[in-house]
């Protein structure tokens, strides 16, 4: 059975048979006739027989990956952010910010390429911007550069702003389990004012694997 998490910019796949490894394709390169058995993600409905909504997949992924009974799992994707909070093994809260969390991951990736920034070499700056989303936040970068601040520092402040936004959106927990492509961005991970445990890109895939097993 082929399972997939169709993200806005990257899609993640895994075969449900034991020992299979997940893999990633750029969403823009997916063939139009692609079809999988179970999917989640923005583009999931049009490519799949069965669709799982992303919050459910995230929650089930958290159940599969996190051993603690109480946790906050935050997924930062290209286009939006969402979180699930469990308390004593029970769902306690959730949120999906598709509008004001708009295009955070996507914007960071665009900035990385445009300014040719290596995020592994940067440390979080002391200050950050007050921004509402990736798109609107970019104007702060441009304003900052006009004051003589380097492009790299301006982008670093932007990245920290995004992390602070996501932290507040998730309810300011003491520990965040982080999911999504931004786990691979060390500046982003270090910019949270709390402990962060990166879980990588495949948490939602793990969630639909768990759901598939439960259905069988």
């Amino acid at each position: 059975m082929l399972l997939a998490d169709f993200g806005t910019t990257y899609s993640k796949f895994i075969d449900s048979s034991p020992g299979s490894k997940p893999y990633i394709l750029e969403t823009k390169a997916l063939p139009a006739d692609l079809h999988v058995d179970i999917a989640t993600g923005h583009n999931g409905k049009r490519f799949s027989t069965s669709y799982i909504n992303e919050l459910t997949a995230l929650a089930k992924g958290g159940e599969a990956r996190i051993t603690e009974k109480s946790f906050t799992l935050l997924d930062c994707g290209s286009r939006d952010i969402k979180y699930i909070r469990y308390k004593n093994g029970q769902l306690a809260d959730m949120g999906w910010n598709a509008e004001c969390g708009a295009s955070m991951g996507f914007t960071i990736e665009l900035l990385e390429r445009y300014y040719d920034i290596d995020f592994t070499t940067l440390t979080p700056p002391a200050s950050y911007f007050s921004i509402t989303c990736g798109v609107l936040g970019m104007s702060h970068i441009f304003d900052e550069i006009t004051t003589g601040v380097s492009e790299t520092i301006a982008v670093a402040k932007f990245v920290k702003s995004i992390a602070i936004n996501a932290y507040r959106f998730a309810g300011e927990p003491s520990t965040i389990h982080l999911s999504g492509g931004l786990c691979d961005n060390p500046l982003f991970v270090k910019s949270f004012p709390c402990e962060v445990i990166p879980l990588g890109r495949y948490v939602l895939l793990d969630g639909i694997k768990k759901i598939a097993r439960e259905r069988i």
Binding site: N53, E54, L55, T56, A59, D80, K82, Q90, L91, D93, M94, G95, W96, N97, A98, E99
Partner: protein
């Protein structure tokens, strides 16, 4: 504030075929006075025009229900509007009433519904499609007569809040959803009833819904935080995918068999 003699004279003097708009839950005295006229509930989307037409009169970032009231009022060629303001509706309705009074050449009758006669809440606790249930509650405010009885069902989920501007989200709930919050006050015909409005069932997963930019948003968020199986949810003019996904996931993860399963 009951109706003044002048207000009553205006309503009683309307022709039999008059078109009267209502906003919120007007007091029974007003409902009696307009019974038999053609009544439009202006809180509901009636006119199929772009809601952004209202930005000439109201901010774009504003309660979608009151923007809908404005849109309906601009297009329905009404003979009068009875608009409840104050604690039984909201302060913003008072402001909208003033704007309507300036813009429209018809009587805008402001009421403050302080009715205390309990009509009961049989629909809120009945087993029924939630969209149909809340639709019936909204229609019911135009009827001054006692409710038809409905058998109460065992609840599996709760919906707390005002009737949403976008009723389509209600399709996601099971038929065994009990209704709380201001919608419950509507069915009871006591819109200014704080104990009833804050009543919840602590044992069932409950969505605490509010229209974005509505003052009740604060209470929805607060009550959700105090409820062991509560989720705060707010939505503006129409509900997007993330809103639907939140409802679906919340019900699924709480083990509720919901309508979209």
């Amino acid at each position: 504030m009951g109706l003044t003699k002048t207000d009553l004279d205006i309503l009683n003097g309307l022709p039999a075929r008059a078109k009267v708009g209502i906003v919120g839950v007007p007091p029974l005295q007003a409902i009696h006075a307009i019974t038999g006229k053609t009544i439009f509930d202006l809180d509901e989307p009636i006119v199929r025009q772009n809601i952004d037409e209202t930005i000439l009169y109201l901010p774009r970032v504003y309660c979608a229900i009151l923007r809908t009231v404005m849109l309906n009022s601009l297009h329905l060629d009404l003979d009068a509007i009875v608009i409840d303001v104050g604690a039984g509706k909201c302060d913003a309705a008072l402001h909208v009433a003033a704007i309507l009074g300036d813009k429209l050449a018809i009587p805008i009758i402001q009421t403050r519904n302080s009715d205390t006669l309990d009509f009961g809440t049989p629909l809120c606790d009945a087993k029924m499609n939630l969209e149909e249930k809340i639709g019936s509650i909204c229609t019911g405010i135009q009827n001054p007569h006692p409710h038809i009885t409905h058998e109460s069902c065992l609840p599996t989920a709760g919906f707390w809040g005002v009737p949403p501007r976008d009723f389509s989200i209600l399709k996601l709930f099971p038929d065994t959803t009990h209704v709380f919050g201001w919608t419950r006050c509507m069915e009871n015909k006591t819109p200014d009833n704080w104990p009833l409005e804050t009543l919840v069932n602590p044992d069932i997963p409950t969505i605490f819904f509010s229209q974005s930019f509505c003052a009740k948003t604060a209470m929805a968020k607060h009550l959700a935080s105090r409820h062991s199986h509560g989720l705060f949810l707010d939505s503006d003019v129409t509900a997007g995918n993330s809103i639907r996904a939140k409802i679906q996931a919340f019900l699924e993860l709480n083990g509720v068999n919901h309508a979209s399963c």
